[in-house]
Symmetry: C2
Subunit: 454 residues, 2 copies
């Protein structure tokens, strides 16, 4: 992020939201459904009401705990070339996570399954601009998370001690807004924190539904829930990496339908960044839209989302590529179109070099009034890589475009998605590691995997 | 504009672009094809080469002249409720200007004509977010501009003296980049400046074609041409209102086709704003795209353009509503969709109020963990106007939307455009003024209008 952040509210107003959040946590508190989580909070001096599950947080506990979280950390990949720096002025893009439905390569919407997910993974591997996989990111329950951590350890070829010092896999935790944290999420948080793995703590605060209708109120609640989760994580293991998650949007007050990429979303995404910086924490936001089809609405809602989250200072962009329909379907064609949008955002961050060569006074002189620059040496030296080359945009003139059948953006995106999938080759992996992973999975399947009741 | 501007380059780099522009004007100069314009520049001490038409500008002349232009002015409407403040932190949106083609209400592309233009005017009058008409904005020749000024005077019901003190009609001047100003434009500039009417001075600097391929070079040339035009206008009439126009984009280096809404455009739009603020001048930029169809490309190129020009600090947004195909066609359906985008930009500027009422701690307490906010008094008091209500976005769930025939954004935009046109009523005008305008037009038509050779 090379541009200055956009600040929607003043430092005093950020302080007021911060103070309101502390008051919410101190006076109202948050419901922790998991007894072990309540017990951990009891030990550090929180006020626990075992009957209701309510945990009330002393202000000083929140402030001192949040201060223990690192402001930046490295998320290690099994391919070290793909390690990511999370926080500061770094910006990492992920794929859509946790959509129940799916638009396949033929544009048909169906219920997500293993093959659909595999296609999403293949496409993500094919797009250079995708830095991490959103996938199904929630940390539900204890054993499931232990399995994930063990697979990450095997994939990276490291020992358990190294894993404890090197964040290698992240998990998203959504509080059940308002002010509730469920048991599977809490168990996942405990497991991740004990292994020093990052949690992206993201309240699900839709203004007007699960949060106040006023943006300030929704943000105060978002901030309270995020701080509660981060405090809890630091009490489990001081210094464990976290990401401050902002997801506040609004609902359509006529229908109750969630809305994304709205003017409300743009501002809450920016203010969310201000809050994250207030605590010197990495910031998560998202590239989201509510559109059912990959039409102009999908595009403008997505770019408005990007405007809000990028200028707000997002470090960890969930749902960066492929999110549609308020998260209800993942889309291969949207993933390709989003890759184009994300590459444009990256290009916008490229510095504009201002020096004697780029100011080009001599070239302007040699061309002179009424001339053109196509043939100059200055142009010839640079034309191959001077400008961003889009994946999707069709810049042919109207007549040529019409003769080609008047293709629209989704046609091109669908074509590219199929081309990427057909050309897919899995990244090479050490056969010994591959065998160890397969053996682990086979053993866990034989053992019956993880029984779930959720 | 209530947000902080985005600054792409440093103050030193702005100074470097500024100095390069002065060097270009001093050493290379600009070709003024109009003898009267050269004569005016000769009188103020510029270095004139009559054989080539080249005008070379002493640095001090440029600096002292540009300093005479007002940093803010009022553009008076014949309806005083619609007066516009141009400059400072004001943001005015205009319609698409000067497109040769047209997408009609049925979605058919045809050559623009008087009826097409009338439809655009009607739609512009129907959209509250449209502040001014782009139309065909160029000031070509002397008599044509005199006629326009006289019509503006009659429409406003003012005398000639008042017109001289009250900007009432604007004109756009494009230099013929690189470094040339043609005769009709120059005559229009002289006429407008003598009547103290604002000129939007906009070089047509497409990097790689009519300007250097490097963004810094294209901007140095843009700045040189803009400063040359503004200097000329101030030499005609010191203090005449001007707008600093930025239009620098890039071309596709494979085909030479102009591109808009690109990462290059976003950054030049932002840096253009930095340059305009360097001279304390109002800033013009545009909502542009290169798309042939109203698809996702049209939307993302437009929102990226808006991102660049709004965060760059645009005051006077040309082509705000209705621009398509790199300016080659105006579109009624795009105009409605753009109106939605512009309203969203306006809503993004709305302050987020942070106070006891909006922080809503008591409401959060009364709802409690696991509750919802729909039924609270806090929500009931605010739900009607809490959130932006879009013109276009379709937030129905997938099944309901599919049952409705899976409409896409252009379907809705087309429907609304037709509805607005059918419901159109002309704004009421004093019958005496209407009669005077009609008589003037009839007389000028009888006199033969303005013969043109361009």
């Amino acid at each position: 992020m090379r541009l200055n952040h956009t600040e929607v509210v003043s430092a005093d107003e950020i302080e007021a939201i911060h103070e309101a959040s502390l008051t919410i946590l101190e006076r109202i508190g948050m419901e922790f459904l998991c007894p072990e989580a309540r017990s951990i909070m009891n030990e550090v001096g929180a006020d626990i009401d075992e009957a209701s599950g309510r945990v009330r947080f002393p202000r000083e506990l929140v402030i001192s705990s949040v201060a223990k979280a690192p402001s930046e950390f490295t998320l290690h990949s099994w391919n070290p070339d793909h390690d990511l720096q999370i926080g500061g002025r770094w910006l990492a893009y992920g794929t859509v996570g946790s959509a129940p439905h799916y638009i396949d390569r033929d544009g048909v919407r169906r219920t997500g399954d293993r093959n659909a997910f595999r296609d999403l993974l293949k496409l993500a591997q094919s797009l250079n601009t995708v830095h991490f996989i959103g996938g199904y990111p929630y940390s539900l329950g204890r054993q499931r998370n232990r399995d994930v951590l063990e697979m990450a350890r095997i994939a990276r070829g490291i020992d358990e001690h190294t894993l404890l010092h090197e964040p290698s896999v992240f998990s998203v935790v959504n509080s059940n807004s308002p002010l509730r944290l469920d048991t599977p999420m809490s168990q996942g948080m405990i497991e991740f924190a004990r292994h020093n793995q990052p949690i992206v703590m993201t309240p699900f605060t839709l203004a007007g539904a699960m949060a106040p209708i006023t943006l300030a109120g929704a943000l105060a609640q978002q901030n309270a829930e995020a701080l509660a989760g981060i405090t809890f994580l630091q009490c489990v293991n001081a210094g464990t990496p976290v990401v401050y998650g902002g997801f506040t949007s609004n609902v359509d007050m006529q229908s109750g339908a969630p809305a994304f990429g709205t003017p409300e979303y743009v501002r809450t995404a920016m203010i969310g960044g201000q809050l994250a910086r207030h605590y010197a924490l990495p910031y998560r936001s998202s590239n989201v839209c509510a559109a059912n089809a990959l039409d102009a609405q999908a595009a403008y809602e997505s770019v408005f989302s990007l405007w809000g989250c990028v200028m707000g200072g997002v470090n960890f962009m969930m749902h960066g590529a492929g999110w549609m329909e308020g998260g209800l379907h993942a889309s291969l064609e949207k993933m390709v179109l989003d890759a184009d949008l994300l590459q444009m955002v990256t290009q916008i961050m490229e510095p504009v070099i201002v020096d004697v060569d780029t100011l080009a006074i001599d070239t302007i002189e040699s061309v002179g009034p009424g001339g053109h620059f196509f043939g100059t040496q200055h142009t010839q030296d640079r034309f191959r890589n001077a400008f961003y080359k889009p994946l999707i945009s069709d810049w042919r003139n109207y007549e040529t475009w019409q003769e080609a059948g008047s293709p629209q953006a989704p046609d091109r995106a669908k074509l590219l998605a199929a081309r990427f999938l057909d050309a897919y080759e899995p990244p090479p992996m050490d056969p010994a590691i591959r065998a160890e992973l397969d053996a682990f999975v086979a053993r866990r399947v034989a053992e019956g995997g993880v029984p779930t009741d959720y």
